[in-house]
Symmetry: C2
Subunit: 743 residues, 2 copies
């Protein structure tokens, strides 16, 4: 047998999920009855349970599916739902075992189905457990256990390889679900695409310098191609992973408040309705919110910016070396507070908008967050590029509102020291320095905090919990350690589970946001410093690996949700690409002093020329994007091929069925029967019997195609033709029944 | 019995289709054998035939479905195909009669299915008759007979009603198919929407005058809302008529030339491939084509424009009153020739692009035609607005290239007569006059020719055919009239059919193009003359009625094709709306001389202000369009409701099925069995027998949810809580199997 330490990491004891039940803040009798209800609810949906003691006033409830039959039933149900929503092309086979053999269950699918079984409402066949909400507020978390053997291999493999293969992404999808896999796929694609601007940027930096129009065009084209390519790639991956269209399967938000219940006149289904107009009214609150956020964040950034410019470029008084850090101090203290207040406000606003589905809620929230992130990330550079540089000479001298440069010093030096619009000149290196800060320094800091902060947070939180329990324990007298009751055999395993229970929940959106914002620097400002892409290339190689480590070490195993897109972030990418053409063209024009252009000075920048560059660049971009979209849509990808193939098979089966049914129909009888006196008399009798209509008589003149052909031949032969003369004049060019009468 | 004349119009003799077989140019034996083949092919797919003599070397072959069973089989097959392609939500019932009772066949569907039965290739279950092509080049046309009773009612109803109801459109759809119905639905929607700009335009004309920014904003907003609304309405109508998604059912082009045949590795299907890169290369020829068309048409228009300006505004020589008509003469003679040459070239180019499907071919062709139409329709006004008005003062004096104003006259007056940039001034009314011409005069002329030209063409063509036959007859000697053989009873009916055989084929694209180009005048230039919409409102009321008359009287009954969109014209609408914001903002700025703005003179127009207006207007438009799109998508339309309902029903049925299957699974057994010494010994024996693994032992500690609940209760009670003290310290807070051992 393996040594206990490694054994604890090697087995998950067949546990599917662990439910952490915390009762520190509830009185015991309620806690006990709720716990009993919890166990019963889980049991009612076919889940087997085991309970163990947890850390600090919590118990750990281990859950697994009781029997294969139960699991298979759920899998079948989930697959039927997919089929109805068009995610699968073909209906799953009725015989579940057969279906599972044809298409084996992968780990993420299994975990997702079990998680849904635990959390779905009772009406939809689940146990209705909703962590931290309502009657289940004691259920602190529901999490699966890490597969340490796989995690170890994963990190080992990734840290030793330069490039990730599609198989690596498939692996992530199979283990952690499509949503996480989409993040890694996006980052990997982005990383690979980055090589082009990195190479071109390095060359441009050496040969062309900054603000090169050639680099600008290349950068805008690259952003467009990447965005459009990823749009297609999403579809392709969706097909590869069998999740195309899952974002259309709408999960209702539990928090959705309906205003009235309407019964559908046809289906009798009870529909919970919230008037769209009312929601629209509420959504209009976004406008003051956005304006407010812009003003508050903008004011903060502009203030710090002004202070910084003032102190570093005008101020010559005492403590300059210390005061230089004043804006940084203000930003790092006030900004997080302001951001968290605004984020909180955005969340409340989105909740107030009362979206019906989880998807709509997430999209609305993401959009608001993006606005805030946009301001905090890019506004400083915008201020430098489009306010400080062109108008700095005019504005900066007025920054000295308090007359700080003057007061404390000798009055007689006044005329010399105070800068006037005439003698102040802007610092031309500021823009490049700032871009360098955001694309290198800030990225480095970010990467560091991403790894360290969660560790500190976890340590602190666990300390807090310990203290809370200790305080409780002190009040209640001595107590035994929760681990005291552990059976020796499971002790190590339980210790590990208790640790995992304390970990943070992984939020893939935050990582995606980081990538999108990074893309923004590239599209908006890389023309200022063409080495931007080189820097990002290095960071992203690390980012992919540190994210893997983060998920494995610092986070609970993520619930394997499905996704078929990176969602609203794709729109953000499009927006940044579009805005990038505007900023790039403007920057290139404003700083094109190699030729005859202006040098960022207001005097030499011509309004019409600037606007014309922007207008021109934007329309070129729109046409180019349209062309790229069409070109990419024409490319046959393996995913699309797979889908076509599946559709063909379905189509073929149904056609074969329908055709076999058609074949049972009688073929057109060959009515070339012999014409005898009897049959003719019979026809005449039949006709008179039925009191025939003109229609019946019309269609009775020729019976069967042979008669029609014969009569037609008569017409044609009778017709006078130049070519052949009247060869067929004697043929029977008359009606079918006349022919018969002649017989 | 009714009098014969009206009787012939009242009955179609149950005829489904008439095939006109013309053999004037083939030798008789070939004609006869081909005719026999034709009749046999029709018979082989279950169609009954009757032949009658036609006019001038043609025979008329009447076709109807032989039996209901054959028709039902085809209907079922067609509906299954729809279902597979997602056009129908639910699969049609296997029992065809039942399915037809649930959802009766409408006339257009019946005719479409029979037409497809005649024309589809043999491999797809049709007779493979392809009019005018290959071996069927003698098959001149395949057409259904007009329903004269319905036509009469239709025209009567429409000419007496102000507004068309949705039911009227449903009626058209049931008779003439969705493609024609979409045209009428679009025109009717457009007509109804026109009331707003007509009312606002009239008010603006009275109160604000031309070039009003308020009218400009209204007009751009209206165009955007109408385009986006129609985009949604298309979907809605598609659902209402059960055709949503039919444009995705791709019909292969017969003319498609494959380069190689590839066998699909999975399905084994033979795929005919034409490399996409090669097609892309061929499509690039569009660029020189478009440039060529722009240059040729542009040169022609610019020349005529220059001549006109020159003669009417500079020239003072003899024959001025006659010479004024010179540009009109040039345009009306050269333009049609040039247009038809270019159209021909565009068709050849599109054929050369070798599209695989009919839809792709049509789209490619429509795009090319739109480019040409765009130039011929709008370039004259563009020249006036953006060349003549601002730069006229500079350019016009140089138009006198031949020195015509000077030479023939007294040399001494030279200095006085020749205009110089100084003394020439533009004609400010020219722009408005031109817009008036295009929006009133040209529309009137158009409406007239649309009714009269086909009549003349038909008369001429029938005369030509008569002459051709007469010539033939002269060469071959005397012949009897083709009507001589008609049975007296059918004579009138046959006469009518012969007339209908001579009629033109209705092309709905031409009518749609007319409407889209009209929309273009409104979006691009209506700010010049705000009464534009009033004029269009009147013309479109008439247009709807004359189109109805045209279809009923001057055209063969159209083959009832299906459609779920107006196709590429929708893109043209979007394009014109977008361009409209640019032209409107530019015109408003350039002619805003009520305030402090310029008056169309180059001196007072500032480049940056013009560009800023355009840039500003365009981005406001883009944001507005995005908002309108979102708002419209939120509106619940009856069509979308219907679709939701259908989907719900399908979903419910499958869920019920899957759930009934799940219910057969055994429910979680209640393992709260009595714990006895025997059962415990049995457990121990079982465990030792199986050589239990750690996992088995882990899950064996608690049996059934009741035990888990009991153990959990123990943990919770044992935990020290501030609130309650150690109330539960004596409870059995230990493992389940320990509990058992204690028994």
């Amino acid at each position: 047998m393996a040594p206990p330490k490694s054994h604890a990491l090697q087995t998950n004891m067949d546990v599917d999920y662990v439910i952490s039940y915390r009762f520190a803040k509830t009185d015991k009798s309620t806690a006990i009855s709720q716990f009993e209800k919890l166990v019963e609810a889980l049991s009612s949906v076919g889940l087997q349970t085991e309970v163990r003691n947890g850390d600090n006033h919590s118990v750990l409830l281990f859950v697994r599916v009781a029997s294969d039959e139960h699991l298979f039933g759920e899998v079948y149900r989930s697959r039927v739902r997919d089929w109805i929503h068009g995610v699968r092309t073909a209906a799953p086979a009725r015989e579940t075992r057969q279906a599972l053999e044809a298409e084996p269950l992968y780990e993420a699918e299994r975990l997702r189905i079990i998680y849904q079984l635990i959390t779905h409402p009772v009406s939809e066949g689940g146990a209705g457990i909703t962590p931290k909400e309502g009657e289940w507020k004691n259920v602190e978390s529901i999490f699966a256990l890490h597969d340490h053997a796989y995690n170890k291999d994963w990190i080992k493999k990734w840290s030793s390889s330069w490039k990730l293969q599609t198989e690596d992404l498939d692996d992530i999808r199979n283990r952690l679900g499509e949503k996480v896999a989409y993040y890694f796929a996006f980052t990997q694609s982005y990383f690979q695409f980055l090589m082009f601007p990195a190479a071109f940027g390095a060359a441009a930096w050496l040969l062309l310098g900054s603000f090169s129009p050639i680099y600008g065009i290349f950068s805008a084209a690259w952003c467009t191609i990447f965005t459009e390519w990823w749009r297609q790639q999403e579809v392709d991956l969706g097909i590869r992973w069998g999740v195309r269209g899952v974002s259309k399967i709408e999960t209702k938000r539990r928090e959705f408040q309906h205003e009235k219940v309407v019964s559908d006149p046809v289906t009798g289904e009870q529909i919970h309705v919230f008037p769209a107009t009312k929601r629209l009214q509420r959504q209009l609150l976004q406008v003051p919110f956005a304006l407010g956020a812009v003003c508050m964040l903008g004011a903060l950034i502009a203030t710090c910016f002004s202070i910084e410019v003032f102190i570093s470029e005008i101020y010559t008084g005492p403590l300059k070396s210390v005061l230089v850090f004043l804006p940084t101090v203000i930003l790092t203290t006030v900004m997080p507070v302001l951001t968290s207040v605004l984020t909180n406000f955005a969340t409340q606003l989105t909740k107030f908008e009362n979206h019906e589905t989880e998807g709509a809620y997430q999209t609305a929230l993401t959009q608001k967050i993006f606005v805030m992130n946009f301001i905090t990330s890019y506004l400083p550079i915008f201020l430098t590029a489009f306010v400080y540089v062109p108008f700095g000479k005019i504005i900066v001298p007025y920054l000295d509102v308090f007359g700080l440069t003057v007061k404390p010093f000798a009055q007689n030096e006044k005329q010399l020291k105070a800068p006037t619009p005439g003698n102040f000149s802007i610092n031309p290196g500021r823009l490049q320095k700032q871009v360098f800060y955001f694309t290198v320094t800030a990225q480095l800091v970010n990467l560091g905090t991403e790894l360290i902060v969660p560790i500190l947070k976890r340590k602190g939180f666990s300390k807090y919990k310990e203290m809370q329990s200790e305080r409780t324990a002190k009040g209640a007298g001595a107590t035994s350690s929760p681990t005291a009751d552990d059976p020796a055999e499971d002790a190590e395993f339980l210790q590990r589970v208790r640790q995992e229970a304390e970990l943070d929940v992984y939020d893939v959106t935050a990582d995606l946001r980081e990538m999108v914002l990074q893309f923004g620097y590239l599209s908006l400002f890389s023309v200022v410093w063409p080495l931007t892409a080189v820097s990002f290339l290095c960071f992203d190689w690390l980012e992919l690996r540190t994210d893997a480590i983060k998920i494995c070490v610092e986070m609970q195993r993520p619930i394997p949700w499905r996704a078929d897109t990176i969602g609203p972030w794709l729109d953000s990418l499009s927006f940044l690409t579009w805005l990038g053409t505007l900023t790039t063209s403007a920057l290139v024009y404003m700083f094109s002093n190699d030729g005859l252009g202006p040098d960022g000075h207001p005097a030499s920048i011509r309004g019409w020329a600037l606007l014309l560059s922007i207008l021109f660049a934007e329309h070129i971009f729109l046409v180019f994007r349209w062309a790229v979209r069409i070109a990419i849509s024409k490319i046959d990808s393996p995913g699309l091929q797979k889908e076509k193939r599946e559709r063909y098979l379905v189509r073929k089966r149904y056609f074969d069925e329908s055709i076999s049914q058609l074949e049972r129909l009688p073929k057109m009888a060959e009515k070339g029967r012999e014409i005898t006196r009897e049959s003719l008399e019979e026809d005449a009798r039949q006709a008179s019997l039925h009191g025939s209509t003109p229609e019946q008589r019309f269609w009775a003149r020729q019976r069967g195609w042979r008669e029609t052909a014969a009569v037609g031949r008569g017409f044609i032969e009778k017709a006078p033709l130049e070519v052949q003369g009247r060869r067929g004049s004697d043929a029977s060019g008359n009606w079918g029944n006349e022919t018969k009468k002649e017989l």
